[in-house]
Assembly symmetry: C2
C-alpha cells in the first residue's frame, strides 16, 4: 500500500452517490509533503519516458502537477475551463462533461504552449468517467504533441474512465485505484498493484 492509499484510508470519507471526499489533503487543503511522495512515485513509474512538459487542468490538478514537475524538471501548463479575457490568441478547445459539477465545460489551452515537439505527461487529481482526461488528450493531439503518460492521483476503478484510457494504449498510472467503496460502512477497497 502506497502513501496515498494509506492517507485515503486514514482521512478519506465515502459519501453517498459514489463521492470520495479527500478534501483535507488533496483538493481543497493540500498536503505538499504527500504531493512530493506522489511526484517521486510517478517519476519512478515513468522512468525513461522522455517528458518535457506536464499538462493539467484547473483547479485541483494544479498543485499536484506543480509539485510533481519538480521531479521531472519541466514546466506545467494548466488547461482552463472557461474563456478568460486574458486568454487571447489562438487556442485549442475541447468540450468535456464534469461528473462532479454536472455541467459541460470547455477545456482550453493557448496554442503557443503546446506544439508538435512536446512530449506531455498529463496529471490530474481524479479519474472517474474520464471526460476531462479525454479533453486533455484531445488537446495534446490537436497540437500534434505526444502523450507520454498519464498520472492520476485517485481513479474510481468502478467507473469506465480508466479502462477506456488503458484500452486505447496509454500508460495510465493511478496511484490509488478504488475498486469498491461503501458510504454506509466507510469501506474502501483498492486494486492491488500489479
Amino acid at each position: 500500500m502506497n502513501c496515498l492509499e494509506e492517507r485515503i484510508l486514514k482521512d478519506g470519507i465515502v459519501k453517498e452517490g459514489n463521492v470520495l471526499k479527500v478534501d483535507s489533503f488533496l483538493n481543497h487543503q493540500m498536503d505538499i509533503d504527500l504531493f512530493n511522495e506522489m511526484g517521486k512515485e510517478w517519476k519512478k513509474r515513468f522512468e525513461g519516458a522522455n517528458i518535457n512538459k506536464i499538462l493539467t487542468i484547473e483547479a485541483s490538478g494544479i498543485g499536484i502537477a506543480c509539485i510533481a514537475a519538480q521531479h521531472f524538471g519541466v514546466p506545467v501548463v494548466f488547461a482552463k475551463k472557461s474563456k478568460s479575457v486574458n486568454l487571447e490568441g489562438e487556442m485549442y478547445v475541447a468540450e468535456v462533461e464534469s461528473f462532479t459539477h454536472k455541467c459541460k465545460n470547455q477545456v482550453i489551452v493557448a496554442k503557443k504552449f503546446l506544439n508538435e515537439n512536446d512530449r506531455v505527461l498529463i496529471i490530474d487529481d481524479f479519474l472517474a468517467n474520464g471526460c476531462a482526461l479525454q479533453g486533455l488528450i484531445q488537446i495534446v493531439k490537436s497540437a500534434g504533441a505526444t502523450v507520454e503518460g498519464i498520472g492520476i492521483a485517485v481513479e474510481k476503478g468502478f467507473q469506465a474512465g480508466g479502462r477506456i484510457i488503458r484500452n486505447l494504449g496509454f500508460q495510465l498510472e493511478s496511484l490509488a485505484i478504488v475498486d469498491d467503496m461503501d458510504s454506509k460502512t466507510g469501506m474502501i477497497k483498492f486494486r492491488e498493484e500489479q
Copy 2:
C-alpha cells in the same frame, strides 16, 4: 531587480486596457524554478512570522502557493470560486468582484480548514483592485484566524488594491510592483525596493 521582475521584462507583454500578460511563466504555463525563487524570497521577507498555513484562491494562485509552501513547511488551502457539489458542510463565503473576468464570484473555504489557531500567509498571483484579496482576508477574519502576511507575485501599483491593504496595516510583500506600463512602447516600470 529580482528574478520575477527580470522575467517580466523578458517575457511579459503589455496589452491595451492595463493588461500585463505573464501567461508564459506565471498563470497558464508555469515556470516551477521561478516559483521556487519566489518562495525563497517570501520566506526571507516573512522571516520570523509564525505561519502555519497558506491560503490562496483558484486557479492561478494554486501553483505558486504550493511551491512556496515548501519553503514554509505548511499545508495550502485554496479558496474556491463557485459552489461545488463536493463542498458540503459549513463554509466561509465572501463575495468578490474580478477585474479580469468582469463578474462577481463567491470565494468559499470549508470551515474545517481554517480556525482561530491558524496564522495564515495569503498568496496570490496578481493584485490590482484587490477584491479577491479582500475576500480572502474577510474569510480569515470570519474564521477568527490571523493574517500573518500577504505575498503577491505581481502588483499593479497604479491601481488601488495594494495601497488599501498597506493602509490597513497588513504586511504585503509583492515581488514585482508595476507602477507604470505602456502597451504602445512595451514599457514596464517597477517600483524600487525600499
